[in-house]
């Protein structure tokens, strides 16, 4: 028997002769009663299981209640209504609740969790169960159970942002959430992070502005904390281009919404394609989550719904909203119900039987459409080659974001054209791939005005025929090719990124020049671009809002990543040394350049 405790952020295991005498035994213990866990608790209790729910907070619902996310009246029920409904449902079905309670230790017998030691106000209690659900979102129990867990993005462990909400009454007696002044990156020092609360206290929300704060939400919303390795991991790439899971536990239609804008260069290649090269922010994609994405790898009796389930970080960027988390919780509980009633392990749950339970909650409903489309209700059919060529024959638009502009327009058609090129490169037939490339090359040479657009499209397809035009952009940025734009990445930034992937050795020098002067010359003319009226969107901060730092950050970060790739293909010891010196020189040409240099130190160390 192993006893596992978390000490200094690491599971620490010791062998014990026997587990402590339990104070209670349950069919299922749900740890974490947020959006996913509260639904799991109620579904399982409703099905007649003896269930214990454990949470460090004093209520169920997590972001949906204590975080007041989606608290506006258009959503079903207001916050107290939801709290009451959850509490009454738990009461009705006899679920036991342990609020303000932490998991102090887990006891494992082989690959099974057999018991938990829980703690409330200094009082420990040992509880056993046949099955466990970790719905904490931060893998608290999965770590104690010995599962592998990922934290943040690969390059530096950065997470998506956190935010805090006040629930307010407006002057007209409507209720609704008011988000904190701005979303903060969690990848900043703790002291600055705690200044988050200070900002709120500084009256940003306009206490004097006829608004009454009903609740300062006792929960800080996380978009990302940890990811558990599960039997099957669902990737963003697979969602876009892979075979779709035919036996999902739930389906969803999700945007890619990472709330981190300025340092997207450091995200994965699919993420960079979606966000930077294609600018797909008005779009969403279908997700079919397989049951195995809820089963913690290497543990026999642990399911892991909520935002730490088996999806990669890119999928998490969209599949993290309350509704989807609730679905994941219901699905996990349904699987536990079937497993216990059929007396099989969680891995042997028959899908047909599970499906009956899933359908009760309409979880595995048919997808709205089987391919990428607009996040809003407007449908779009896959483009033909001619539609792609036509859509790229235009200036890059002035789209702000799907958050505000949900009506698809011409700018979005060009986004979809870039995405279509990526799609063809990934899974198009050989014939279509060749035909589209040759049309793009032809258009690139014939339509000088839009040659950068065509070159970008070719670059997304990984076609080296784009290189000459891309090099030309990087050497002589600006002019008609970059009429640009707020929010979107102009071609000169995309060209940096693409040269990293397909560029020749000659691309190294212009990219080093961009890094060396902190992107100043390279982005100077962008500042003359038409500015968006951000006063319409108070509280939102964009990287490309006409300030030099935003463009410079993007140029330098993209160049660093591109140089890392280029130098792997075209080793150049002198340049590598120079870049290492730059990364360690301690100087900053613009705010936040230090963040780029910290990452560059790691990248160029191995280069």
């Amino acid at each position: 028997m192993l006893e596992v405790k978390m000490i200094a952020g690491k599971p620490v295991t010791r062998t014990v002769a026997a587990m402590p005498t339990p104070a209670g035994h349950y069919d299922l213990i749900v740890v974490g009663l947020g959006s996913a866990g509260s639904e799991a608790l109620i579904v399982a209790a409703e099905a007649g299981l003896k269930v214990l729910g454990v949470d460090v907070r004093a209520a169920m619902g997590g972001n949906w209640t204590l975080g007041a996310i989606n608290g506006a009246p258009k959503w079903p029920g207001n916050v107290p209504g939801r709290l009451a409904a959850l509490e009454r449902a738990a009461h009705k079905h006899g679920a036991e609740l342990a609020y303000e309670t932490s998991v102090a230790a887990a006891y494992r017998d082989g690959q099974r969790i057999v018991s938990l030691k829980i703690l409330r106000n200094g009082i420990f209690r040992d509880v056993t169960a046949n099955m466990f659900i970790d719905a904490t979102g931060n893998a608290t129990l999965a770590l104690l159970a010995g599962a592998n867990v990922r934290f943040g993005r690969v390059v530096d462990g950065a997470q998506f942002t956190v935010s805090r909400t006040y629930y307010v009454e407006h002057a007209d007696s409507r209720m609704g959430p008011v988000y904190s002044g701005k979303c903060r990156s969690p990848n900043v020092p703790v002291a600055e992070q705690s200044a988050f609360a200070t900002e709120l206290a500084a009256g940003r929300l306009g206490f004097r502005n006829k608004r009454r704060v009903l609740v300062a939400c006792p929960y800080i919303g996380a978009r990302e904390e940890a990811g558990v390795e599960t039997d099957v991991m669902l990737s963003f790439h697979e969602c876009l281009f892979g075979p779709r899971c035919e036996k999902p536990v739930f389906t969803a239609w999700v945007p890619y919404d990472i709330h981190r804008i300025s340092d997207r260069a450091f995200e994965t290649e699919p993420s960079v394609n979606w966000e930077i090269l294609c600018r797909m922010s008005p779009f969403a994609y279908p997700v079919s989550v397989p049951y195995e994405a809820l089963i913690a790898k290497g543990v026999e009796n642990l399911l892991v719904p909520s935002r730490h389930m088996g999806i990669d970080r890119d999928v998490l960027a969209g599949l993290r909203m309350v509704a989807e988390m609730q679905m994941s919780g219901k699905a996990a509980a349904a699987a536990v119900v079937v497993a216990l009633k059929s007396r099989v392990s969680v891995r042997d749950v028959p899908y047909d039987e599970l499906r009956k339970h899933l359908d009760r909650y309409n979880l595995a409903r048919p997808l709205r459409q089987p391919h990428v489309g607009f996040y809003s209700k407007n449908e779009i059919a896959p483009f033909t080659d001619d539609q792609i060529i036509q859509a790229l024959k235009r200036d890059i638009g002035n789209a702000v974001s799907w958050v505000f502009h949900r009506t698809p327009d011409d700018e979005d058609r060009s986004s979809y054209a870039y995405y279509s090129c990526w799609d063809v490169a990934e899974r198009g037939s050989q014939e279509r791939n060749s035909a589209l490339r040759s049309k793009l090359v032809q258009a690139m040479h014939a339509e000088k005005r839009y040659s950068a657009n065509y070159a970008t499209a070719l670059g997304i397809m990984g076609d080296p025929q784009a290189v000459d035009v891309l090099l030309e952009i990087v050497r002589n940025p600006g002019g008609e090719r970059d009429p640009l734009v707020d929010y979107a990445y102009p071609n000169r930034l995309k060209a940096i990124c693409l040269l990293g992937r397909i560029g020749p050795a000659e691309a190294v020098k212009p990219l080093v020049d961009i890094v060396a002067d902190g992107g100043e010359k390279y982005t100077a003319t962008l500042l003359k671009a038409k500015a968006c009226d951000y006063s319409k969107y108070p509280g939102w901060v964009y990287p490309f809002d006409g300030r030099a730092e935003g463009y410079r950050f993007a140029a330098v970060s993209l160049a660093v990543v591109a140089l890392d790739l280029l130098l792997k293909r075209h080793p150049d010891p002198g340049t590598a040394v120079r870049l290492r010196e730059w990364a360690h020189d301690g100087k900053t040409a613009f705010p936040d350049e230090a963040q780029i240099k910290a990452i560059a130190q790691r990248l160029f160390e191995r280069t």
Binding site: G9, A84, E87, E169, F207, R208
Partner: protein, 302 residues
């Protein structure tokens, strides 16, 4: 990159927000014999971020650490919504808090608007460089030499705070040792809408509607037995609300308190349940200013 949970939390200050605020926290924690890192050493550790504890911590930031199980500061006055009477400030810290409340427009009718006061306090914690650990569940309090080792569980697991003395300001005391000192509890919720007439007509021996600080602000207060837990408190609140709304549906509940309220049997409650650990519940004070001032003075005699 091989990130451990602690590295991650330290760099990311994760959402679950094991916020360690203040300068005292050890960069390279010492290890206790049990392998649990000693993350801070101080003269006095306060259990519970009550106004009493924060009064002391803001006055003596270099000597104190405050441990709070939730993410809220002064939950007995901000989260519980009541009592919300704004009395005169005597001490330095109370004066600072009062000034900030007034500056933010959070007061009126001799009362203050409670929910944002948690953030008013957090601003002062930052400003005064007080040391605070949120999301900290106290697992053990042990004698260690001439002082104490306070073992806590946060999102990164076990840690230890070494202190010369421990002052417990939580409402029921550690391990609920002070539960019997509680006479009754209450739970509150702000009401939203334009009710027909005076809501005072809904008062019974179990519930009442009391005024808030802002014009037209009403707060529903439900009286509860001393042993009521969160689950039953919530059920009682919504039952009371539904009875009211059956008579007048022009208002709704606009949220619920984020802390329970407490009334104690004795006017001045203080006890020693653990040798050397004083229990002095912060929730026993009738108002915020008094609690801050008492806290401010509490380390003077030590």
């Amino acid at each position: 990159m091989n990130l451990r949970r602690r590295t991650f939390i330290a760099s990311a200050a994760a959402s679950a927000a094991s916020f360690r605020i203040g300068p005292i926290w050890a960069q390279t924690p010492k290890r206790s014999p049990s392998g649990i890192p000693v993350v801070a050493e101080c003269e006095t550790v306060f259990l519970g971020a009550s106004a009493y504890a924060l009064g002391a911590a803001l006055k003596n930031p270099a000597k104190t650490v405050v441990l709070e199980q939730s993410l809220m500061l002064v939950p007995e006055f901000s989260g519980a919504l009541l009592p919300n009477v704004l009395t005169a400030a005597e001490g330095e810290i109370a004066t600072l808090v009062r000034e900030r409340i007034e500056k933010e427009g959070l007061s009126g009718n001799g009362r203050y608007h409670a929910p944002p006061v948690s953030d008013v306090m957090s601003a002062l914690v930052m400003h005064r460089k007080a040391n605070l650990f949120l999301n900290a569940n106290v697992a053990d309090i042990r004698r260690a030499g001439r002082g104490f080792a306070v073992e806590i569980i946060g999102p990164d697991g076990y840690s230890t705070i070494a202190a010369e003395r421990v002052i417990d300001t939580t409402p029921t005391a550690w391990r609920d040792a002070g539960a019997k000192a509680i006479k009754e509890k209450f739970f509150a919720a702000p009401l939203v809408g334009k009710p027909k007439g005076d809501l005072g007509r809904f008062a019974t021996d179990k519930r009442e509607v009391v005024p808030g600080a802002l014009p037209g602000e009403n707060i529903l207060k439900v009286r509860l037995a001393a042993d009521t837990d969160w689950h039953n408190a919530r059920l009682a609140l919504y039952d009371a609300f539904e009875k009211m709304v059956a008579e007048d549906d022009t208002f709704i509940i606009g949220g619920e308190a984020t802390a329970l309220g407490y009334l104690y049997r004795e006017a001045r409650t203080q006890a020693t349940h653990l040798p050397g650990v004083v229990w002095h519940p912060g929730a026993q004070y009738p108002d915020l200013m008094n609690a801050l001032t008492a806290g401010e003075l509490c380390l003077k005699s030590k």
